[in-house]
Symmetry: C2
Subunit: 142 residues, 2 copies
């Protein structure tokens, strides 16, 4: 039974839940101690005490950070005997990465189009001043 429960939990966490809460994900990422724990977990699963070892903080503080990481969906953990083992959830990492990457690629594409427009108008003697208009990104008023 435990095996089926664990599998169901994994499916619920990783497949059925499509979008993690980005407020909690980015908040979890905003702390250097929690980022160092995630860097460690990038090398493989680790126990809570292993995660805390390089950090100068109490076990209670480490546990609190792990709880924030789990609450954000960046980390999942399971207890085997007396040891709680944590691992990274790549789906949550991927969602945060995708949000940032979309903003970046939209901007880069727009700048590329603007560059092409400026290059195409550079030879025209009556080219309008490009300081005001951004023809590459027409936008309706909200």
């Amino acid at each position: 039974m435990v095996g089926i429960e664990a599998i169901l939990k994994h499916v619920l966490n990783n497949v059925l839940d499509p979008e993690p809460d980005l407020d909690r994900v980015f908040h979890a990422l905003a702390d250097p101690g929690r980022r160092s724990m995630l860097e460690r977990l990038g090398e493989g699963p680790a126990s809570v005490s292993e995660l805390g070892k390089p950090l100068a903080m109490s076990l209670a503080a480490v546990l609190q950070h792990v709880q924030i990481l789990e609450g954000s969906g960046l980390v999942q953990s399971r207890k085997l005997g007396r040891t709680r083992t944590c691992s990274l959830n790549t789906e949550t990492l991927r969602s945060a990465e995708r949000w940032i990457s979309e903003r970046r690629t939209f901007t880069e594409r727009r700048l590329d189009r603007l560059g092409e427009y400026l290059a195409s108008t550079a030879d025209q003697p009556d080219a309008p001043d490009s300081g005001q208009a951004d023809p590459a990104a027409p936008r309706a008023q909200a």
Copy 2:
């Protein structure tokens, strides 16, 4: 002179400063209002009042969010006449994206190697229990 100062500031912000402060970057990303401003800026530069328009908040609150975004390096702004125009800094976006992507790809590669190892031992009659060991990620004690 103002032109040279602006160019120097741009160079200092974007070229000479290699790594943004990820604490401040992820903190800036952890707020839904600030993310909506960044989504708007992904479509092109905008004034502070344009950024605030879809959000139900005072101009003072909008300005505070813009200052946090600028402090993180995600946004840069310059004043033209009486209007301050904000734009995205793709380099800062890229740094945050890279940090997340490294954690994700390390984990995915390790899981791939683990999968290959398990597949290679599946046919062997005396295959050891794979629950404890993770041969794909040997790790020296810190």
